[in-house]
Symmetry: C2
Subunit: 289 residues, 2 copies
């Protein structure tokens, strides 16, 4: 197993030193190059976690997978990486880096993924997202919530609620969710996302298994009775157009990984719903590296 990191692509001719090729045959800190500055001497006491390059990494690099439409490809560990030869797409070159998803996962002791919570307004998406982030945090797992509403305050503040803008809203959220997942974070997206094609598009851009669809399968009349934001009332009064469940359809998932339903007339407490998702993550080994 040999790690070769060439750091000198750009600086070679200016450094007036030979092309720097770092070779190491050991797993662990030894895999980081010995540099003019010895970082290992600078390690502080804040470094309490083992940081190493996964032993399967080098073989993974050799088995670079299918190339996706965005120019990236996934190896068998789900790391987004460029194609071996650093392919060019127009004038945009993909920059590869030696710290990959698998390394970040090792650091975090978890696997990056996207938990996509879909359902009607008032179905409890945000409530589940919050309960889930609390429960995972208490286990030492790093999560981040992308809330459809919150993202509209920043990244998607330029978008309206016209159909094309709603589609763009979801497209951007899925792209950002992909970045978070690639960062090793358990990304929890809480978005109505009423159309199957939009959710499936998110599934398609992620490595197999990393898209976990959670369907909040609550009856419309229940959601409308809750109406926590008063939006159903506005929609029924004709003050909001194209409101999901009122005058715009919701297409339920056909094969959601997890479905949350009422038990008779009673909703489970948020913590119980969260535990259902956590059991799934546990079973699929997302809560370990």
């Amino acid at each position: 197993m040999i790690s070769v990191v060439n750091l000198s692509l750009v600086f070679n001719s200016f450094l007036r030193i030979n092309s720097i090729e770092y070779k190491s045959t050991k797993v662990g800190f030894e895999n980081f190059p010995t540099t003019p500055l010895n970082f290992r001497q600078n390690l502080t006491s804040s470094l309490t976690r083992s940081v190493r390059i996964n032993s399967s990494r080098m073989s993974a690099i050799k088995t670079c997978g299918e190339i996706h439409s965005d120019g990236s490809s996934y190896d068998s560990n789900g790391s987004v990486r460029c194609h071996e030869k650093g392919r060019r797409f127009g004038n945009i070159v993909w920059h590869k880096c030696s710290v990959e998803k698998i390394d970040r996962q090792e650091l975090l002791q978890q696997k990056g993924c996207v938990i996509w919570i879909t359902g009607l307004s008032g179905s409890g998406k945000s409530t589940l997202a919050c309960a889930l982030t609390r429960a995972l945090h208490s286990r030492g797992k790093l999560t981040y919530i992308l809330d459809g509403d919150n993202v509209r305050h920043g990244l998607n503040s330029d978008l309206t609620f016209k159909p094309e803008d709603r589609a763009e809203n979801i497209r951007r959220i899925r792209e950002v969710a992909k970045l978070f997942s690639d960062a090793g974070v358990i990304c929890i997206a809480s978005v109505i996302s009423p159309y199957r094609k939009d959710r499936d598009a998110c599934r398609s851009i992620l490595p197999d298994g990393d898209f976990i669809e959670v369907f909040m399968d609550m009856p419309l009349h229940v959601c409308e009775a809750r109406d926590p934001k008063g939006l159903y009332k506005l929609a029924r009064a004709g003050k909001i157009e194209g409101f999901t469940g009122v005058d715009d359809p919701y297409e339920p998932p056909l094969n959601a990984e997890i479905t949350i339903q009422m038990e008779g007339e009673v909703c489970s407490p948020p913590e119980v719903m969260a535990e259902k998702v956590i059991s799934y993550l546990d079973a699929k080994e997302y809560l370990q590296a």
Copy 2:
């Protein structure tokens, strides 16, 4: 110090139980509510890090800061949080969650921030970003690179190189960088970002100190001689319009936190440049919670 978490906003009327208000007076796991499912019993051996809510948290909540244009505000610890009363902006309500930036920072033992590397094409932005991510990872720190080119394969694949699209490209990158920083991640943005106003806009949406501008101050002739992507050649041949440094200006930062320059005719190795940034992060206590 009292933590009050109200979980029952949505489910109250359906659970047929009283409004659930969790009160705790201790710091640590005790700050998580005792729920019908006792998560503390479910803690697995994978939990190796201390997870607690920072002791200054409750006072921070009371000193909610300035409200930003996106509806969020920052407390004294830099956590993005909604205004106390859960303000409404049009039909978009900000959802707050009990796990905040400060908690994720505690988990990661670092502070989320944005290291914004700006400079001409070929100035070594991506090279520094890679060296920096390697060095920080070797210290057990979680980083993520947002590379201007890479993001154009996904989130910004709909954008051209027209001036308005270049501005939108940078706007989205800064919004995503803000999300990563809020997640507790040390986000490294590597973007030409030639205009001062675009970079300053990123600074303005982040809590004080969390925007760290790194200026790759390399002479144009050096960058053009390198031309690692062959873009200067294309620009000089008139095949690319509005190319920064050729027929579009680069506005150097006036007050960059860090400036990287050549020493005489020689560039420092990437690891030395990275160490300069790391020393800054260390001094500003970004490498600890």
